[in-house]
């Protein structure tokens, strides 16, 4: 499998799969951790502490600031599992790691069938490193 760690770290939590991509800027409130995009089908959902499945990124580059701020505040997802690489999400999570030492591992799975299979599980643990990437249901 060609999955890649974009931002390293360990995390675990309940899986939340987004039906469609979300722009963190304008679509997510870093103070509450909730989806505030009124046009998103999961409007109102709380993303805090989840292992968030999102196909790809979306929207303004200011999304990186919003994600970093949410990680600082503890309202962000525990981990973000993408299908394809995304520069804005990677940047936001990396900056939070750099500034606050808080990990929000970001992974690109690169294989739709595998990504969908994982997103259907109730809980996952993520161990993302440069050499080793493990995503499993927690024991």
């Amino acid at each position: 499998m060609s999955a890649r760690s974009l931002v390293s770290g360990n995390a675990a939590g309940p899986v939340l799969a987004l039906d469609e991509p979300l722009s963190f800027w304008g679509g997510f409130d870093s103070s509450s951790g909730k989806v505030i995009d009124r046009f998103h089908t999961q409007h109102g959902a709380c993303l805090s502490g989840t292992v968030l499945f999102m196909e790809r990124g979306r929207g303004s580059s200011s999304g990186a600031s919003v994600l970093a701020e949410a990680i600082r505040l503890g309202t962000a997802p525990a981990s973000i599992i993408l299908l394809d690489e995304d520069a804005i999400i990677t940047t936001g999570a990396l900056v939070a790691q750099m500034l606050y030492g808080i990990d929000c591992p970001v992974v690109a799975i690169k294989d739709r069938a595998a990504w969908e299979r994982l997103s259907a599980l109730p809980r996952l643990a993520v161990e993302a490193g440069a050499e080793r990437l493990v995503i499993t249901p927690p024991e």
Binding site: S61, A68, V95
Partner: protein, 413 residues
């Protein structure tokens, strides 16, 4: 990724701890976008001065603490406050203070205190073919389209990281093969339009391209010869507001499009729309949230920041003063100094014009009375202000806005 000797040196800390830190970010970003290498960056334009929360400030303060300095000429986009006229800011004092510190901290890193969204007008005009790390959507489109310099849509954190390393990832619009037009939008029936009409048309064309072409680069044919650089600026700003546009070609007007064949790289590309006077009028009409004759509380000009040539066009219209409502014009502090030197700033202020520098009336609390509609000649202002400020908006040409300022309601030239 293949790293150069310079890249390794930066990463190993030979250029200081701030550059090494920033390099980590640039490399991870480059990996995420699939860039095979980094390029030398000629300049950066950083959009880090608008406060999005504590993380915005912590990021730049970290590099200040590490004694970082930008490695290439770096201009700054607008901030939340007008540092030259701080009394104009009427928002929350704590936010104002955080916004001010954010602006100062960037200057501590060696960034030029330009605080303008149009650095290309006077301060830092890139050359054709320069590789840039620019943020701010209108500046990105202008640099790519009107100048022929090369940048992707950079933004939060990564713009400053590129400035601190002097390196930029080689992908997207940095590469020639990705800069060709993939669709054509044909404008019909405006061959003989005058300068005022050309301004409105440019906004309509920009909004259309933004909404319907997305990230497919459009070649726009049929824009009148009277289309000025200011109009192309307005076109790009409108396009980047309505969609994720990073570049367009105006055939016969922009440097990579002397003719349609060059713009498309000789490939057949579909004509996705033909816009005549009827369609253009409809697009512009949809931009207003009020009808003609509606009462106004202000006129807002200069989004993107007003250029000296726009001031030249405006000056004769000051004969209309006194105005019934305040006229706000955003501009860069560099332009403001020029206007002050030659006495135009004083003439404008005497006519009831408020000159706003370092910031913009659509991103911050400046306009005092928002109880009625605000009129603008900016597609970008009209697109964002209703959401940002909760205000009604009327769109018009420059001449329309000044006549309306005098009348206190929406009238057309």
């Amino acid at each position: 990724m293949e790293l150069s000797t310079t890249d390794h040196e930066i990463l190993d800390g030979d250029h200081g701890p701030a550059a090494a830190d920033a390099m980590q970010l640039v490399l991870r970003f480059a990996e995420a976008v699939g860039a095979p290498r980094l390029l030398a960056c000629a300049s950066a334009h950083v959009d880090g001065c608008l406060y999005h929360g504590q993380a915005s400030l912590d990021f730049v303060e970290r590099f200040v603490a590490l004694k970082g300095r930008v490695k290439v000429p770096t201009t700054l986009n607008v901030g939340s406050v007008d540092l030259i006229h701080p009394e104009l800011f009427i928002g929350d004092a704590e936010l104002g203070a955080a916004g001010r510190r954010l602006m100062e901290a960037h200057v501590d890193l060696g960034c030029t205190p330009s605080f303008t969204c149009a650095p290309y007008q006077t301060l830092l005009r890139p050359r054709f073919g320069d590789q840039l790390a620019w943020a701010e959507s209108n500046a990105i489109v202008f640099a790519n389209s009107v100048i022929g310099a090369r940048t992707n849509r950079y933004g939060d954190f990564i713009d400053l990281a590129c400035a601190l390393t002097g390196r930029v990832p080689d992908y997207g619009l940095h590469r020639r093969e990705n800069r060709r037009a993939r669709v054509v939008v044909d404008i019909d029936g405006f061959e003989h339009a005058g300068p005022d009409q050309a301004g409105g048309l440019a906004v309509a064309a920009g909004l259309f391209v933004g909404k319907h072409c997305g990230d497919a680069i459009a070649a726009i044919t049929g824009l009148p010869r009277s289309t000025s650089e200011d109009d192309l600026k307005a076109l790009g700003a409108a396009a980047a507001s309505a969609g994720s546009v990073a570049m367009f070609h105006a055939v016969g007007l922009t440097p990579e499009a002397p003719d349609l064949k060059t713009a498309t790289g000789g490939q057949e590309v579909p004509v996705v729309a033909r816009l005549g006077p009827g369609e253009v009028l409809k697009i512009l009409k949809n931009l207003s949230t009020v009808q003609d004759a509606a009462a106004l509380t202000a006129v807002a000009l200069g989004t993107p920041h007003f250029s000296l040539s726009e001031f030249d066009r405006l000056m004769p219209m000051l004969d209309l003063a006194p105005f019934a409502v305040p006229v706000y014009i955003n501009t860069g502090r560099h332009e403001y100094e020029q206007l002050s030197r030659d006495g135009q700033a004083q003439r404008l202020e005497a006519a009831g014009v408020t000159l706003v520098v370092d910031t913009c009336t659509y991103v911050t609390a400046i306009i005092r009375d928002l109880s009625g509609a605000v009129m603008t000649n900016s597609g970008k202002w009209a697109y964002y202000a209703p959401g940002n400020l909760g205000v009604d908006v009327a769109f018009g040409t420059l001449a329309d806005t000044l006549l309306s300022a005098k009348a206190g309601r929406v009238v057309r030239a």
